[in-house]
């Protein structure tokens, strides 16, 4: 497994995925073609879970605002985590500014959609 690093732009978040099991996604997300942009992320995650021995995974999301296709993509991302939750320890921090109610609501929705995933709301 290699580390995946994507630098932040005005419309895409910084992404860091390390083979030791740390994922950090931080910034804004409204790419022109969301699914193309996040393809390496989904590929990396898929590969991560097929290793011989999979380290437990700590995921941190901190997204200020995002478009609807990013929201769909994040759902798919959580869905993939959900498939592997029984064999790999996974914890997710959904971080937001306490003034940003819609970011908080987005986190609450993911908690409702994936009740068996360990998603924690964290104010920053």
């Amino acid at each position: 497994m290699n580390e995946l690093l994507i630098e932040e732009t005005q419309y895409t978040p910084s992404i860091k995925m390390s083979p030791e099991g740390q994922i950090e996604i931080k910034g804004k997300s409204y790419p022109e073609n969301t699914f193309e942009f996040y393809k390496p992320v989904m590929v990396w995650l898929t590969d991560y879970f097929v290793q011989d021995s999979v380290p437990s995974l700590k995921v941190k999301f901190e997204i200020t605002y995002f478009n609807s296709s990013s929201s769909k993509l994040f759902f798919d991302f959580f869905d993939l985590l959900n498939e592997h939750k029984d064999s790999v320890g996974i914890t997710i921090d959904w971080c937001y500014d306490e003034e940003n109610e819609s970011a908080m609501e987005a986190g609450e929705d993911f908690i409702d959609d994936f009740p068996d995933l360990s998603i924690k709301l964290v104010t920053v």
Binding site: Y11, Y30, E32, T34, S68, S71, K72, L73, D79, S102
Partner: protein
């Protein structure tokens, strides 16, 4: 055309941001977002309200970029152009409004969705949004297909109209009202 009359109109309508884009691109949208962020920052707007305005703006702008038709063409070819603006009627609300060209088949697809959204409560919209978001990992078009729902769940009221234009096309107008939070 007198440019002063645009100034008078924007003052009268409370417009704080107005863009007519002859050719809309992602880098232009991102530049508009930076300018809009400065405007809401300057206005001391609550981050929760700003985030709604940003997201609605992005949805409308990316819709225009991806789906607008060329008014002058006889066929259905695309042309990423339109008008988008943000205005305020303080202390009650902000609004985001866009206009672009669609063809008959676009209108037939969009109209029932928009009419349905207008009749739904905010809770119903949020529920439907989440149902649609679940619809399969590989089922993606350019957007997520949930753009109107994203806009609707972030505003208090959604207004739309289709006005006949030339070449079997329509001007599609969409307006989203975002109320201020109490205390802002």
């Amino acid at each position: 055309m007198n440019i002063q009359s645009i100034k008078e109109l924007t003052d009268k309508e409370g417009i704080v941001f107005l863009a007519y884009t002859g050719f809309l691109s992602q880098s232009l949208i991102s530049a508009m977002m930076t300018s809009l962020e400065q405007e809401t920052d300057y206005g001391g707007l609550n981050l929760g309200v700003s985030a709604h305005i940003y997201t609605i703006f992005i949805e409308m702008a990316q819709n225009m970029m991806n789906y607008s038709r060329d008014l002058t063409a006889l066929d259905n070819s695309r042309k990423p152009e339109g008008i988008i603006l943000v205005g305020k009627r303080l202390p009650e609300y902000y609004y985001v409004e866009s206009q672009n060209v669609v063809d008959v088949s676009d209108m037939e697809k969009m109209e029932p969705k928009l009419a349905e959204l207008q009749g739904m409560s905010n809770d119903e919209i949020k529920k439907r949004y989440r149902e649609l978001r679940k619809s399969g990992r590989d089922k993606h078009d350019v957007g997520g297909g949930i753009g109107f729902y994203e806009i609707a769940k972030r505003c208090e009221r959604l207004e739309y109209s289709f006005s006949p234009a030339e070449n079997n096309k329509y001007f599609f107008n969409l307006k989203a009202i975002v109320p201020m939070k109490k205390g802002d």
